[in-house]
């Protein structure tokens, strides 16, 4: 660590280039069609959370069926498949991706890099509105004849557009249109995130002085800009197969005794396109989570992040490797064994930089002054959960283990731990952490602790037994098991237990929302920098940050974002923008 009090070669700064800032003059342009990244962030977040709640309710419906089969007349097999499909797509794309990149990306990037706003504010605004339209189109599919698609979140052809599949008419078309709109909207946002990070940092903020949150969001955005095109291409071609009768993905096929007009299309090609998007998508969600959790740990443990450079390298290497592992999702589709070997090997290699991050998080905590705040608890819970989910990923990365487990509940448990629970823990932690900055108020700590423990213990109570069900051979995607000789009756009892816990944990989230809304007006007023964080977003002249973020002068950066636990310094930390001569000694 640098001796922050010493002369570190202060260079008198040249004038920081000012951006042309759009100033809103009416309520509509300030809060509705806003070009301010902070407002856009909140719009993205609220929309993503709203659609995420729809996804949550859909999961309850599924669990009701699995826990208590033949008990609910309003759930038939078609409904069940529609719930599965919409739950999966909503959670992965419309909640997690939108919240991490559109929500946290918009809020944190300009503030953390010392910019007044995103570099293309108008395009940024359009990005949100296209996202909103995408969400509305997706919701519209619930109301068309046949309902939403029930093809599974992977939307595999040919079954996705065959008449036996629920929602094979309007439902699948609206899903594909919605995804295409989402990608167009995201691309507009992504251009902003990348260009702002590369070209609009304040003076002194080199790439290697950026907080890891920004590294995570930046790398995930690059991944998304390169991976989402594959989903767009697949969506466009499948829309044409569905509407115009082309045969991009549709082979010659007999449906209900009738030979369809399709011929020669390749369903496997769609799978490759889908997973070329789908696997990087895991890291599009995970990398921002990695970055944010690094910052939460460092701030709340009052210790600089261990191995900063390695953490950055790991983010970049994981991002690069994520493009050469996609076919491990397709082992059961069949492939040349050498390809299987290749994809299994690359999948295992990706565990190395990932494990490195886990070690570094753990070493950051070593001899640290750990503050067990609510954000910190969520961050710690993330580490444990990510290790759990990651280790089962190593099982499934191996061809010989994946094939027998692939269609069982084990896979459901694995990806929910690694891609559902783990990122959500970070999201909760991040919201608790940055809420005082966004509102100027603190949460009610008791309710926050209740929310944490119920969510953390609840998630394990739900998903550990699902691993066990998978080992028993309980298949996934089944409406009901019926009488299956190799599955003991106790499996059904366990399913019922899991459903009860799911409902309890789901409803317990109301405490989180109540706390959020209540704290806006009744929460204790927050200090300007309640967590004593060193990064720039907490150094704004007003809280919440005003339009343009930083008052008349942009901040000048003199150090990285991790000067915590600094000996001989008042408050044990030094913000990034404090001049070396102005560091207050203890």
């Amino acid at each position: 660590m640098a001796d922050v009090g010493a002369d570190i070669g202060y260079v008198p700064p040249a004038e920081v280039e000012e951006m042309e800032l759009y100033h809103a003059h009416s309520f509509i342009t300030k809060y509705v069609f806003s070009q301010d990244a902070k407002v856009i962030a909140i719009q993205y977040s609220l929309t993503a959370i709203a659609i995420g709640l729809v996804g949550l309710v859909l999961s309850w419906m599924m669990r009701l069926q699995l826990g208590f089969p033949e008990s609910f007349d309003f759930i038939d097999p078609a409904d069940y498949y529609q719930f599965i499909t919409m739950h999966g797509m909503i959670m992965v794309v419309y909640l997690l991706t939108a919240l991490f990149l559109g929500g946290f990306g918009n809020y944190l990037i300009p503030l953390m890099v010392g910019a007044r706003d995103m570099v293309f504010p108008y395009v940024n605004m359009v990005s949100y509105w296209v996202f909103l339209i995408a969400v509305l189109v997706l919701l519209a599919s619930f109301f068309v004849p046949g309902g939403p698609t029930g093809a599974g979140w992977t939307l595999y052809p040919p079954q996705a557009i065959l008449s036996g599949t629920p929602g094979s008419g309007g439902g699948i078309v609206l899903m594909l249109i919605s995804l295409s709109l989402f990608i167009v909207g995201f691309t507009m946002g992504g251009l902003n995130y990348v260009t702002t990070v590369l070209q609009a940092r304040t003076r002194g903020l080199t790439l290697m002085r950026m907080p890891l949150s920004i590294w995570g969001i930046f790398t995930a955005t690059v991944l998304a800009l390169l991976a989402f095109p594959a989903l767009l291409v697949g969506s466009i071609m499948m829309t044409l197969d569905s509407l115009l009768g082309t045969s991009f993905f549709m082979p010659a096929i007999v449906e209900q005794g009738e030979l369809l007009k399709h011929d020669g299309g390749s369903p496997i090609l769609f799978q490759h396109l889908f997973w070329f998007f789908g696997h990087p998508e895991v890291y599009i969600v995970a990398l921002p989570a990695f970055g944010i959790v690094s910052d939460l740990l460092s701030v709340h443990a009052r210790r600089h992040i261990f191995g900063y450079r390695m953490m950055v390298w790991a983010i970049v290497i994981i991002g690069a490797l994520s493009f050469i592992v996609w076919a491990h999702h397709m082992y059961v589709s069949g492939m040349n064994p050498y390809f299987g070997f290749f994809f299994a090997t690359t999948t295992l290699i990706i565990a190395i930089p990932t494990a490195l991050k886990v070690y570094n998080w753990t070493l950051t905590l070593w001899k640290a002054n750990i503050q067990l705040t609510v954000p910190m608890l969520f961050a710690l819970a993330f580490i444990v959960t990510f290790v759990n989910g990651g280790i089962t990923g190593l099982f499934l990365g191996n061809v010989v283990v994946d094939i027998p487990l692939s269609d069982t509940m084990f896979v459901v448990a694995h990806f929910h731990m690694v891609m559902g629970v783990a990122p959500l823990l970070v999201i909760f932690g991040a919201i608790y952490h940055w809420y005082p900055l966004m509102t100027g108020r603190m949460w009610h700590k008791g309710m926050g602790l209740f929310h944490f423990w119920v969510t953390f213990i609840g998630a394990y109570t739900i998903f550990l037994p699902i691993h066990y069900l998978g080992f028993l051979g309980v298949p996934r995607r089944y409406f009901e098991m019926g009488e299956t000789t190799f599955i003991p009756e106790s499996a059904q009892t366990l399913n019922a237990f899991i459903t009860v816990v799911v409902l309890f944990v789901g409803f317990a989230q109301l405490v989180f929302f109540y706390n959020m809304i209540r704290s806006m007006t009744k929460g204790e007023k927050s200090e300007r920098n309640p967590w004593k964080a060193a990064s720039l977003e907490w150094q704004t002249p007003e809280v919440p940050p005003g339009h343009g973020n930083f008052g008349p002068d942009l901040p000048l950066v003199y150090r990285w974002a991790y000067d915590y636990g600094v000996p001989g310094v008042k408050d044990d930390f030094v913000p990034q923008n404090v001049h070396p001569d102005q560091v207050v000694k203890a």
Binding site: M1, A2, D3, A6, I8, G9, Y10, P13, E17, V113, G114, V119, F120, T187, G190, L191, N192, V194, T195, L198, Q199, A200, R201, T202, R203, G204, T206, L207, M208, R209, L225, L226, P229, A230, L232, V233, I236, M237, L240, L244, T246, S247, F248, K261, D263, G264, G265, S266, L269, L273, F276, H304, Y308, R309, W313, V316, V557, Y558, W560, Y562
Partner: protein, 205 residues
């Protein structure tokens, strides 16, 4: 920016801090809109490359029957080249502050682009009249798909072109206008290259 060099920096070290404090916060000596456009073009290139890969994958199946290339495609190609040339001449004129030439070339670039799109729609009509429907054969489907994807991107470019023309009417001699024209020209040349790749692919397969 040399990313490998950047990634080797140790931001916590005092000697690195000397260099870092003087850093102006930009990664490239490049205007932000130009970098934004380049990022966009990379993303579009991935989209288009995946279409080409899908095309290459599908064309080897035995039911692939290439459709005839109407002579009008050659004419349309020439029109698109004219459009790109006019756009570049417009940029050159803006750099030399020749307002009249800027106007002529900008209008010509847009006019040729519209003519190209009109010509492509004529090709579609001809082929449909001859019975080459999208669903009839994968080669037909890919022809319509690739030409449509290219056309949609050009339409997007024309939206930007309209904004530049409006800006020209408001203030014909500004740095901002010249920068916008340069962005338009980059996009135009890019779409010309894309069309030439698609056209060669369609001609030889």
């Amino acid at each position: 920016m040399n990313i490998l060099q950047e990634l080797r920096q140790k931001p916590w070290m005092a000697d690195q801090a000397v260099l870092d404090n003087a850093h102006d916060g930009t990664a490239y000596v490049l205007a932000k809109p130009k970098l934004g456009l380049r990022v966009l073009l990379i993303s579009i290139t991935v989209v288009l490359s995946l279409f080409v890969i899908a095309y290459s994958d599908r064309m080897f199946v035995s039911d692939w029957h290439p459709l005839p290339e109407p002579w009008m495609l050659w004419l349309n190609t020439a029109v698109l080249i004219f459009s790109s040339v006019a756009m570049q001449r417009g940029v050159n004129a803006a750099r030399e502050r020749q307002i009249a030439a800027v106007k002529t070339n900008m209008l010509a670039a847009g006019g040729f682009a519209f003519a190209f799109l009109f010509g492509q729609s004529m090709v579609w009509q001809q082929l449909i009249a001859l019975g080459f429907f999208a669903a009839a054969n994968p080669a037909n489907a890919f022809f319509y798909l690739l030409t449509a994807v290219h056309g949609v991107h050009l339409l997007g470019g024309l939206v930007a072109w309209v904004r530049v023309v409006k800006r020209f009417k408001q203030a014909p001699d500004t740095v901002r206008l010249r920068e916008s024209m340069e962005l338009c020209a980059t996009y135009w040349h890019y779409l010309l290259i894309v069309w030439l790749v698609f056209f060669i692919l369609l001609l030889f397969t």
